[in-house]
Symmetry: C2
Subunit: 223 residues, 2 copies
DNA sequence: CCAGTTTATGGACGATCATTCATTTTATGA
DNA sequence: TCATAAAATGAATGATCGTCCATAAACTGG
């Protein structure tokens, strides 16, 4: 990177990617700490310790920076989720358990991420580009969950396995969304364990052979 | 009210309540149409067709107006819900059915209300006064639902009726929250019927004697 | 008809907003 | 070593922000 810096001189980054990243981080920090509508260019560059002109050097305008920040946050969510999913076994109920517990884990659901998501969602309407990123649980995740439920409903010889799997998918995602909202509005009383138990209680009622209150039931040979 | 207005003269409202209400309506309209962060005093008074100074005549400052608007929206939600609840029978599953169907009805869940709620939630963090209003489904509704579920679980002679009723309450509210989010993010593909069916599918799995996919099961005499 | 009160108006204030751009600093490559 | 390119700077611009307030209009009670 050819970084040569004399000792008593302000170190210069001199890398466009670094500056872009600094601006995005500062934007998200600002949204978390002072809210979306208070997040100004001045606030962002101050936090990033960069000069005023930097935003318009690396982004067309403020909105482009906000979109980039939303995109970055969405990618971060999926990257953390993928990391946890990689460790899961391939059994459908194990996949579902991992998705649910991951989505409720500290790595994915915390003060910072919940504030970021709801901030973007609140403004998504006046900002078409942002809305696509403000959906935490979009198609790829939806498909993964549906496939897992479909395996379960098909194995059960149900009348309409596809329909039930679709409803279970939709319902599970809605439950997770609801838990995120609960965290946002009642972060003091929120409990990850309760949230998980409630979801598994609903799933164990729907699929008693595959779930209990703790999560997935380990597959028996004779089943 | 002593409203006397000559024909070719600008009619004066001359009622503080009317003006307050006009400002609140204009504020909510603006939030719905151009978003929270674009909603300025100028925008509000233009929409209300009032002069600039009016906001500070009836509210301490812009924030007080926003809080009043959030409060007004919250009251509107509960007033519409109460109206629908009044028609429900007293059977616990009938109450639950009414709450769920009402919460998903056009009167309560529509383009306007969903945008308002998520806009306020997105900014609630930097605005302590707003957060209390941004919780659509707060204590009174929670208590109503819990009481209904408790009646059901108690009648079933379950081991831990209170705990299951609490989880069912929490889960049902989370499902409803999730459905609202779904409406916000995918209003084009959202279906009230599907949303209701999914929730009832989960509830019928938990309480097969009390719910089916259409809603509450009418209480049998011999049950 | 005339104070006095309430309601309404809109110009003015300083602060801050997003954006532009001429200039400077740093790194690169020959 | 030096011209060139890349990266960074921050002053300046015009628009808009929330708020204030002197003034005017509309209504009231006497």
């Amino acid at each position: 990177m050819h970084k040569r810096q004399s000792e008593d001189q302000q170190p210069r980054r001199y890398s466009s990617e670094d500056s872009r990243r600094l601006l995005i981080d500062a934007t998200l920090d600002s949204i978390v700490e002072i809210g979306f509508s208070s997040t100004s260019i001045s606030e962002i560059v101050n936090r990033a310790q960069l000069s005023r002109g930097m935003v318009h050097l690396y982004f067309d305008n403020k909105n482009a920076l906000l979109v980039a920040a939303a995109n970055y946050a969405a990618k971060a969510y999926y990257s953390r989720l993928s990391k946890q999913l990689a460790a899961a076994s391939s059994a459908p109920q194990a996949i579902l358990e991992t998705v649910i517990l991951s989505d409720l884990s500290e790595a994915l659901l915390n003060e910072r991420t919940v504030k970021i998501w709801f901030a973007f969602r609140g403004e998504a309407r006046s900002n078409k580009a942002i809305i696509q990123f403000s959906d935490t649980r979009d198609k790829p995740l939806r498909d993964l969950i549906f496939k897992a439920f479909l395996e379960i409903t098909t194995a059960q010889n149900l009348l309409v396995p596809g329909k039930i799997a679709r409803d279970a998918t939709h319902g599970t995602l809605a439950l997770l969304e609801g838990m995120w909202t609960d965290y946002l509005l009642h972060s003091d009383s929120f409990s990850r364990a309760s949230a998980a138990r409630i979801i598994f209680r609903f799933l164990s009622a729907l699929f008693p052979q595959h779930f209990n209150l703790e999560g997935a039931i380990v597959q028996q040979d004779g089943l």
